[in-house]
């Protein structure tokens, strides 16, 4: 009898609650645009923020209800853009975009650059820079503590054995997290097709930059002249004590750096797997530039800590 009563009571309570919930779900029903859900399903769902919205869900909402462009997702690229356009019932504008990747503008690894001291503070680039307590002598170069590595949601950027970050072109989605993470603004987003940059941001006069780093730009003007001789005067120009490749036109060629005395003008530095992406030919995953460096420096531990 007790058992029956207990079961009956629980059944009654359960029934009451379920009826209450049923009524509540009708009363509090919120109408959601099914397109928002549909768009969100086609997105990668990594919430990287590369589209300019805080999360995939917010981007989906913007597309479905505010008419945001369908091709903003940098992770999914053209494929996702097509799918989103399909959900929204619109045509995709334009063709495949050029692959854009993060480019690291510093070559001052533990071999090229002077590391007079050892940094023992918080392992964070911004903290090191703001505390003025950086082991490297160059005031513009990479601190090498890997804040960009920690910021990357795609495992696409890593520190080489000698302490300079390099980007995996295959994994990089140009979401811009590492760009924001670098306190010295050494990382920029550029199309992978373009292969010539001055991989240095040092504004020190040549006399100083030559002392603190073997691979610093010393503003010798050779690449600028080479560009001018090629009737391409605007491709590289001198800004203060630094040669800068024009990134509006992307007209600079790799040859202009042939005579660069410090090899700061280079091509595809700090990038791996670029050939796979560019689809020229299949090369093994081992990087060309960085691999050579890391092979030499493999016995040196983590780089910046070494002297």
């Amino acid at each position: 009898m007790t058992v029956l009563l207990a079961a009956g009571l629980m059944g009654l309570i359960g029934l009451l609650f379920s009826i209450g919930l049923g009524i509540a779900s009708k009363r509090f029903a919120v109408e959601v645009d099914p397109k928002i859900d549909g768009v969100e399903k086609t997105l990668p769902g990594v919430n990287c923020g590369g589209c300019g919205y805080a999360s995939c869900a917010m981007y989906a909402e913007a597309v479905a209800s505010k008419g945001a462009p369908v091709d903003l997702c940098v992770v999914g690229g053209a494929k996702t853009a097509r799918e989103v356009a399909h959900v929204m019932g619109v045509a995709v504008s334009g063709e495949e975009k050029d692959k854009i990747v993060a480019v690291v503008f510093c070559q001052g690894d533990s071999e090229a650059s002077a590391f007079p001291g050892e940094y023992r503070g918080i392992k964070d680039c911004a903290a090191a820079v703001y505390s003025q307590d950086v082991s490297k002598r160059c005031k513009y170069g990479c601190v090498g503590l890997g804040s960009c590595v920690a910021a990357c949601p795609f495992d696409a950027i890593h520190l080489s054995a000698t302490g300079i970050p390099f980007v995996d072109a295959e994994k990089c989605t140009a979401c811009g997290k590492c760009v924001a993470a670098c306190p010295r603004n050494l990382i920029e987003l550029h199309p992978l097709k373009h292969d010539a940059f001055v991989y240095c941001k040092s504004q020190d006069p040549g006399v100083i930059s030559r002392k603190v780093c073997k691979k610093a730009c010393i503003a010798c003007n050779i690449c600028v002249k080479a560009a001018a001789n090629d009737n391409n005067a605007d491709a590289v120009r001198l800004e203060g004590n630094l040669a800068v490749v024009n990134t509006k036109a992307y007209a600079a060629k790799a040859e202009y750096g042939a005579k660069c005395p410090t090899k700061s003008y280079g091509t595809y530095i700090n990038i791996v797997n670029k050939d796979r992406v560019l689809g020229r030919q299949s090369v093994p995953a081992q990087p060309v530039e960085v691999g050579a460096v890391s092979a030499e420096g493999s016995g040196e531990g983590e780089g910046p800590g070494d002297d």
């Binding site: 007790t2 009563l5 207990a6 629980m10 379920s18 919930l21 509540a24 509090f28 903290a127």
Partner: protein, 192 residues
């Protein structure tokens, strides 16, 4: 027992997380960022207060009258599950911003044992209606205080140079235990 004593006892002296060790799962799981921890704390406080009120009615008006207090566990679980559902629907309708802020944490509260514990404890202590309400609310506040403190510490640990064997879960648990030790300092403040 005065209302104030019940409140102070539940918030600091007999803090649910750090003294009774209930609700450890969200305490460890959702304490990585202060914002998220605060959202979780508020959501739990909300649900705990409601649970305490509703279970008081269930206990006093139904279970005790019918002489079936042994059903309390089952009944409370049903009540909590239904309540969380109801709260979720209600917030979704009335305040989409709050709904987004709480996100996944709201349904997760269903399985938070601290909520069940508050219902059981107030029934065990034979609180009256007002006492039960205050007890539920302050137990939630105690949970929120504990989880926010923990999140603050963990944000600092994130950038600290922790020795390798202690990284991750290990340092988190050590931190939690030291925090619990610190809260032991309140014991004896009030006999509750």
């Amino acid at each position: 027992m005065s209302i104030l004593l019940i409140a102070i006892a539940a918030v600091v002296v007999n803090n649910f997380v750090l003294t009774y060790f209930v609700g450890i799962c969200p305490f460890i799981g959702v304490s990585k960022k202060i914002d998220a921890a605060l959202s979780m704390g508020i959501a739990v406080t909300f649900v705990m207060t409601l649970t305490s009120i509703v279970t008081w009615f269930i206990t006093d008006l139904i279970l005790v009258r019918l002489n079936m207090p042994y059903l309390e566990y089952v009944a409370y679980i049903v009540v909590i599950a239904a309540l969380v559902q109801l709260v979720e629907m209600f917030i979704k309708k009335t305040s989409p911003a709050l709904y987004k802020a709480l996100g996944i944490y709201l349904p997760l509260i269903t399985t938070n044992c601290a909520v069940l514990f508050v219902a059981l404890l107030q029934a065990m202590r034979n609180y009256n209606f007002i006492q039960a309400t205050v007890f539920g609310f302050s137990a939630g506040v105690g949970f929120a205080v504990a989880i926010v403190i923990m999140a603050g510490i963990r944000e600092q640990i994130e950038i600290a140079d922790v020795p390798k064997p202690f990284r991750g879960a290990a340092i988190t648990l050590i931190t939690a235990s030291i925090l619990a030790l610190a809260f032991m300092g309140f014991s004896g403040l009030i006999a509750a």
